[in-house]
Symmetry: C2
Subunit: 555 residues, 2 copies
């Protein structure tokens, strides 16, 4: 691809408009806008009037592969295409996490001519939201350890603290640590660990809260651990929910930016649909729905992760439903699901495509199971051959699946017109969205439903530890919550190497962790880790600042 | 004081001006201003032309006591007074650290009618500077541990890593930790610890860098530890100085805010003169000196800490000198130095004042030792009696010391006019500033000079560990740097309980840590800790957000 500019070069060449102008286009009143620099702003949601009536287009994808699918890119390009078709549209994305930006990804703001700007600032500290969440999370840890150190009035058992510290970095050395060493002046030694910030329950609360009041109430309900008598201890017992809310009071306001084509974009809240619920914030989505007729939003990774959680958790809590769902796929990635090595993706291989298309097929079935009609976005890549394209279009026709080719990386919104037209047709229809399970079902039943209907597996195994945790959760009456699966993104199963559409597998749930502030139960499956590690040659090695203060090496 | 409003109430009632208007008053061109919300901005120092010719007024204080001296308050009030006297003035303060804000202080932006605004935002995440420093610091830790995990090409000895992690919180449980537990997948177990962010070498570099280029060069020179062959390992060996610079590229721009009276204020960089050098950034001071004829700035804690480091480190590196020095004292605090309990400070006690005034006397001597003429600001408190005031004014007259009474907490700039007039007189004179030691002197000699000339002690003891470290530093040729003393702020000695003006004491240096990026050698004395703890009832317990989203409980 050496003939192409890099994403950051394209972003650097783009004509970015003052954020005040973007706000005017979006209909945001001046007193609701708080600029952060010239090209970013926060929106005070209390000052946006009207009802959240805009239609919601959810963009999801096949199971990700190292080939890359371009979900964020299509999300941005689709928005720009809808704008070109004279729709009043906003795009609502998740914020990038610094961990993968410094690690592998180098950036997470779309690509080519379908990016949100300013890409460097969004990929770095971006208005400080994640830093505020990190700080609130770790302040709570400090309050817990300080409480124990100062006499432990609440009788907290240091062995039974479930609240962990976080950093917005990939740092495997912090997964398991011992804190409080050094004698009585340093506090009580205990085992602890750091998750990545996006896995923090405060991130989930941040994304699910519907108001500042709701935020504070959820924070007060965080379960931090148990006493020596095994009684649960909540944040409200420590009395620090006010301080935590204060630390989040500005971060909770949605961030306004723009696409390269000047479409207003809200970027706010949590990535990582593998270990978190992986959707942008409800306040962002609902604010965008007040301002625009159509809101295009994405959920992380494949439809088995982000979309499942969008449907069963976010849409349910936010009391809205998706009006259309786009499933992004590429021929390259489908060939990988068919067993082709990454080094051989440039060779035509219709047989491998045929073998791999089952992954797409399964995700489409899943979306239909939720009662929503999907549209496949076939995201063009320069190595796609006519035979491969013909195969996939025929396949879609035979299956009665809407499909549209997109070329937004190269052409921006123009490359998304066909997709936008299909999406508009779906939006004309009424969908019969329904979550897949009732909250009153047992935990086992909810997980089993997801495994069978979304993953295509045959059942679930719970470890003894998980069974014990479930019994405890039921005993305390916390079982009437949705489940948030933590599972590898690379496979429909919990084994990263089982690509394509594995069958006959079972999922192993090794832990069930109550997140009572967020209002869901996290089920850890397989070997999924809540703190990633860095690769041998992290993206950070290529990063720099040029003599004019501009970012170098973000992709 | 129940008849008075709290600081946050006064701040909330104040008429805050749009930051664009403040920038105009300060003469900051529009293209140099990057607004962060309506009332804060960053200034691009590359876009401020002219030379740094403004005069520098340094505000320091007696050794702090629980009575409070009001150094930041006087700094702000003096600026407002100079403005009332038609001077073109800016105030350049340090940024508050969240650790003490959530712990004891509850806020650090001046008080009463001498505050900088918006006090809540400055006290909380304030444009993300400290978060960027925390992130860069911890990213470096992750890169180090990842390097070892991925094969350890540089042969780094995990037992000899001197780079520590940081958080901008008071969290004693993190002082000593073991990381990398859990088996080979989690990395290499090793001892580590967390400092508070202000103690990070990156904070010092941030405050001492003169440009983005200088910042990057300093980052590349950070010593992170030693190989198994005891060879030093620097950041440049890891090749991540570009990424670290990128993480700091926006934070490094000075922040513009305003005083209650509308005086332009730059608030940028590091507090904690006890464990760091405790001055605001050189880029902030030098930018302010381009914009204003007089820049009022403060250094942390007593003159033995912040002012000593301002003179010997900051002024030397920044190539400027203080044109006047204000030493803040209160009758209450001096009575505490004379042995009065905090509960009895409201009773008149001239004898105690006489006993305690020796602390002020020593700090004045110190300032004169640097060749600068001090002005004492006697910061009024409602319990001061006529006899006490008369005593101190007579004392000053006898000693030939300039003194001015201030009442800025209650009256704002009006209460600082007398002080401002005295300062203007001193600014008319030329000072003969000189640092106290030459960089070519031995480490022992530099420390001894500080102990004898600034602390008033008789000498220094180095532990065996410190001696070994000094030998190593000399062997590597790193000894031609200034020293940065880490010492309790409560006493001129290294024993917090030795108040007043202790004599005949020696200082124990227990460790000497080379900070080769910052360009100084940290000497840890006494029991000083680089990660504070929280008190039994932290200020956080009183913090909240009201129904309109406003901060509650910051003081």
């Amino acid at each position: 691809m050496s003939q192409y500019l890099t994403d950051i070069e394209i972003a650097g060449n783009a004509e970015i408009k003052p954020i005040i102008d973007i706000a005017k286009v979006a209909g945001i009143p001046e007193d609701a806008l708080e600029p952060y620099g010239r090209y970013k702003a926060k929106i005070d949601p209390l000052k946006i009037t009207g009802n959240s009536t805009g239609k919601v287009v959810l963009v999801t994808a096949i199971s990700p592969t190292p080939a890359g699918e371009g979900k964020s890119t299509v999300t941005v390009g689709l928005s720009d295409a809808l704008k070109r078709l004279n729709q009043k549209v906003m795009v609502a994305l998740r914020e990038p996490s610094l961990g993968p930006v410094m690690g592998i990804k180098g950036g997470a703001t779309g690509g080519g001519y379908a990016q949100v700007l300013p890409m460097d600032e969004i990929n770095l500290h971006f208005n400080g939201d994640f830093h505020a969440i990190t700080t609130a999370n770790n302040a709570l840890s400090a309050f817990i350890d300080n409480h124990i150190h100062q006499g432990n009035e609440l009788n907290i058992d240091p062995r039974r603290i479930i609240w962990k510290r976080v950093l917005d970095l990939n740092d495997r050395a912090l997964r398991k640590v011992v804190v409080g060493l050094g004698g009585p002046v340093q506090g009580m030694p205990r085992e602890d660990g750091f998750d990545i910030t996006v896995a923090s329950e405060i991130m989930a609360i941040f994304c699910l809260a519907t108001s500042l009041k709701d935020l504070k109430e959820r924070l007060s309900n965080i379960l931090i651990g148990y006493t020596f008598d095994k009684e649960p201890v909540f944040v409200r017992h420590l009395g620090v929910e006010g301080a935590l809310t204060l630390l989040l009071k500005d971060a909770i306001k949605p961030n306004l930016v723009q696409t390269i084509e000047g479409t207003p974009a809200i970027v706010h809240g949590g990535p990582f649909a593998n270990i978190a619920h992986g959707c942008n914030s409800i306040m962002a989505t609902q604010t965008a729905r007040k301002l625009a007729d159509i809101v295009v939003t994405e959920a992380g990774f494949g439809a088995d992760l982000g979309a499942e959680k969008f449907m069963n958790i976010k849409a349910r809590k936010g009391n809205f439903s998706p009006d259309a769902v786009v499933v992004v796929a590429t021929i390259r990635a489908l060939k990988m699901h068919g067993g082709v090595l990454k080094t051989e993706l440039s060779n035509e291989n219709v047989n491998a495509l045929q073998d791999g298309i089952v992954n797409l097929e399964k995700h489409i079935e899943t979306i239909r199971t939720f009662g929503v009609e999907p549209v496949v976005a076939l995201n063009r890549f320069v190595t796609d051959t006519d035979a491969e394209i013909e195969f996939i279009l025929n396949w879609a026709k035979e299956q009665g699946i809407r499909i549209a080719r997109t070329n937004v990386w190269e052409e921006g919104g123009l490359g998304g017109i066909e997709l936008a037209e299909q999406v508009l047709e779906v939006l004309e229809q009424s969908q019969k969205f329904t979550p897949l399970y009732d909250l009153t079902e047992s935990i086992e039943q909810k997980v089993t439903t997801i495994v069978q209907k979304v993953y295509g597996g045959i059942g679930v195994q719970f470890t003894d530890k998980a069974k014990k945790q479930i019994a405890q959760i039921e005993q305390y009456g916390w079982d009437l919550l949705p489940v948030c699966m933590a599972k590898t993104q690379y496979s429909l199963s919990d084994q990263p190497n089982l690509i394509g559409r594995p069958e006959g597998f079972t999922i192993t749930v090794r832990e069930v962790i109550p997140k009572l502030g967020a209002g869901f139960l996290v089920c850890l499956t397989g070997d999924i880790m809540t703190m990633p590690g860095l690769p041998k040659n992290p993206a950070a090695l290529r990063m720099d600042v040029d003599e004019n203060g501009n970012a170098v090496g973000l992709f």
